[in-house]
Symmetry: C2
């Protein structure tokens, strides 16, 4: 191998070790065990201490794509102290547990199996007393997987309204406002049902910025929206005239004060409630930063809130790499800048790819000849777009190598065909499904001059 | 005024002082005087020392929109030591000088007045000997303003070819390759003409990344492209058959070795040549960083290479502001992140605006309610798009204020009407023409919580 090839191999290996550091930090089991620690009879959760001798029962509920490995980890930590539990997971997203029931259900479209599971969760926590501890496990997909319409409302009616709102251009916030007021558990209502038990909610976040009231619609988190807000959304989108009768009845009862609204911030419901984010984009980003520092890189987290068109975001990342290579700002080399969030791709072509692969391809075009620079783009769920890759890596040599293979990079980009571009270069990152999801991460690396 | 209004006024005043710090650092006269210092009989330029007693004559040439104030500053520094000089400026871009002739000429389309001026520059430096010093003043627009076709080629012929290349989608690099081989002074040829005199070139850069061979087509900078490269570009764009005869003759003579190619890196032409960037995006960005630090801000330069669609770049900047507000990464508050470059706007609407105003509008949408955050977007020439504003400022209060005025921000953005949005809010930044241009700067500010 030429010195150049040796160097490129070394870089690639470092890149993959950063990917590994990110994924290890947010693996659901690892994440739960890191935040839920038993020492003697004490349970430590994020600085809070619970005296386990106090509890008559410990009950587990929850839902989401990562609920099974989370449940497994809770069993590993609390063992025979657990009393009972059930979590809803997407079909196939199972893991072996001893006591906690893994109930497979529909996602992204809720089904009756999910509703049945959610109803059993409600029954379980309804029975809880001040001597009980409820642990709620939340992860991506939890909103659909823990769907439980308010009494009298059918899944089909709820779906019909949701579809109408989507068609008329409702925002995700508007949608959630309505959903919370048609649900039996969303918007803090699960916490109200669990009262007066202690409640610990462990959250694996797949929403940018980690808003606890949004993830799985915040079943144990105060809600700031009201029946009035929900009604206003429905009116503004012109759907008030044509509401399914069961939904009209629910909202009218809410507006008339015959139904309690969702519990608000300051409500005593939340006095014994503790929501802990065990895995998030931020946790993954910080883990990469710490790992990069052990590899003697100057490292910083730029943001975990990045949204926007993938190829344009790539332009900014490439600009940062160029600046570091040029002036050692904002970090001296070797440098690692970590950015997270979730970009989008406006599809115009007919190729195969994902937002991370497209970001890497756009970065490759802009890093042409900037030999010290490298950009690694990763979807933490291991599935970037409809592909078997988690992302891709691009560097200052990528374009030269592409030209040598006769690959027309701008054409691949125009056709949204990043997968086939990186496949032919051997620069796809393939992890397989990771059982977790904390959105996307990009690592901007700038290596020292070879000397 | 309410405490909120007082705070907003304080922030606005700080924002404008950052704008001032940026513009002051790259004002052409200031920039020249900072880099060209006379101490006794010694001239200090960027660490090099020239013994002024050695020179029989000091000659000034150059071109660009800022050439007049640069010439003025050179007169202020070197006074009676100057022998003669001429610079080409855009019509109206004048400043009073005592000795150096300010020749007004066409821009962006070169005209015969510009050619006449450039010819007189060549005559002046042609006469230079080893006992002379030539100072060349380069700024934005210099390529058009110092146009001097090679002998036998007319401006009209050169223009016809350039237009053909543009129509067939040639890149700016391809265009420059051809231009340098049809010119009498571009691509280092002015330096060759000046040999064996000492040459100092002072550059005010309006090209992202400050590539010296690109700014004004690098009249005193080695060229890496050849007659063969120029010919290949013309062939690849299918223009070889239909070349104006004068251009065909020039290129054939070049290919046959009957004309010297442009001087290459390592050519002795450049032994006595010194190119100094006196003003650039990087210099402005660093000045803002230093000023922000005097105001007790944690400050860093993120990049001076940022290109991309303005509204998408804004998304990344807003994400950085959110991260700082959320976690104190990558900088603790109060924080100032400085980013420079030049974005673009894909115009889809019919409104009035510029890339900086549009960036600020897109940032305002994403900063809604992020009260500690502020984004200031500035075109350093004082003219952002076809408007009388240099840019605009947006913060976490902007959207609330816009709603109170009944302004529909997404609609203004969709219509590329950022000027009227910020005009109604009173948040335009108006500096008037600044006589300089080092592209665009954005300041991302995150203030402490008010206490």
């Amino acid at each position: 191998m030429s010195p150049d090839e040796i160097e490129q191999k070394r870089r690639r290996s470092l890149a993959l070790s950063l990917v590994r550091a990110a994924l290890d930090a947010v693996e659901p089991g690892v994440a739960v065990r890191r935040h839920l620690v038993v020492a003697g009879d004490r349970l430590e959760v994020n600085g809070r201490t619970y005296d386990l001798r106090r509890y008559r029962r410990i009950l587990i509920v929850g839902g989401g794509k990562a609920a099974a490995p989370m449940a497994q980890a809770v069993e590993a930590v609390l063992g025979d102290r657990l009393t009972a539990g059930i979590v809803n997971v997407k079909y196939g997203y199972v893991a072996p547990t001893r006591l906690i029931e893994i109930n497979q259900a529909g996602h992204p479209i809720p089904d009756e199996r999910g509703v049945a599971g959610a109803r059993r969760m409600v029954e379980l926590v309804q029975s809880a007393t001040a001597d009980d501890l409820v642990i709620c496990l939340i992860s991506g997909g939890g909103s659909a997987l823990m769907a439980l319409p308010a009494p009298g409302i059918s899944l089909a009616d709820k779906r019909r309204l949701t579809d109408g709102l989507l068609r008329s251009g409702a925002t995700i916030n508007e949608l959630n406002t309505v959903r919370k007021h048609l649900s039996a558990i969303k918007g803090g209502q699960l916490a109200r049902i669990a009262r007066p038990a202690d409640v610990i909610t462990l959250v694996l976040s797949d929403v940018v910025g980690c808003p606890l009231d949004v993830i799985a619609s915040g079943p144990t988190v105060p809600d700031t929206t009201t029946f009035q807000d929900a009604w206003r959304v429905i009116e503004q989108h012109g759907l008030a005239e044509d509401l399914p009768p069961s939904i009209a009845r629910q909202l009218q009862a809410g507006l008339a004060g015959e139904l309690p609204d969702t519990p608000k911030p300051g409500d005593p419901t939340f006095d014994r409630c503790c929501n802990v984010v065990v895995a998030s984009n931020e946790i993954a980003a910080r883990a990469v930063r710490e790992y990069a520092r052990t590899q003697r890189f100057n490292a910083m987290v730029l943001s975990t809130f990045v949204e926007g068109e993938a190829r344009e975001v790539a332009a900014v990342y490439a600009a940062i790499a160029r600046e570091i290579a040029h002036s050692g700002q904002p970090l001296a080399r070797p440098a690692c800048v970590i950015a997270g969030g979730e970009t989008v791709v406006t599809v115009r072509g007919h190729g195969l790819g994902g937002r991370n692969q497209e970001l890497a391809l756009a970065a490759a075009l802009r890093l042409d000849g900037i030999l010290p620079a490298m950009v690694i783009a990763l979807g933490t769920d291991g599935t970037d777009g409809p592909t078997d890759a988690a992302g891709a890596m691009a560097d200052g040599y990528t374009m030269e190598r592409a030209r040598a293979l006769g690959l027309d990079a701008p054409k691949f980009l125009a056709d949204n065909d990043s997968y086939h571009f990186f496949q032919q270069l051997g620069d796809l990152i393939v992890t397989g499904p990771t059982n977790t999801n904390v959105n996307d991460l990009t690592f901007i690396l700038v290596f020292p001059e070879r000397g």
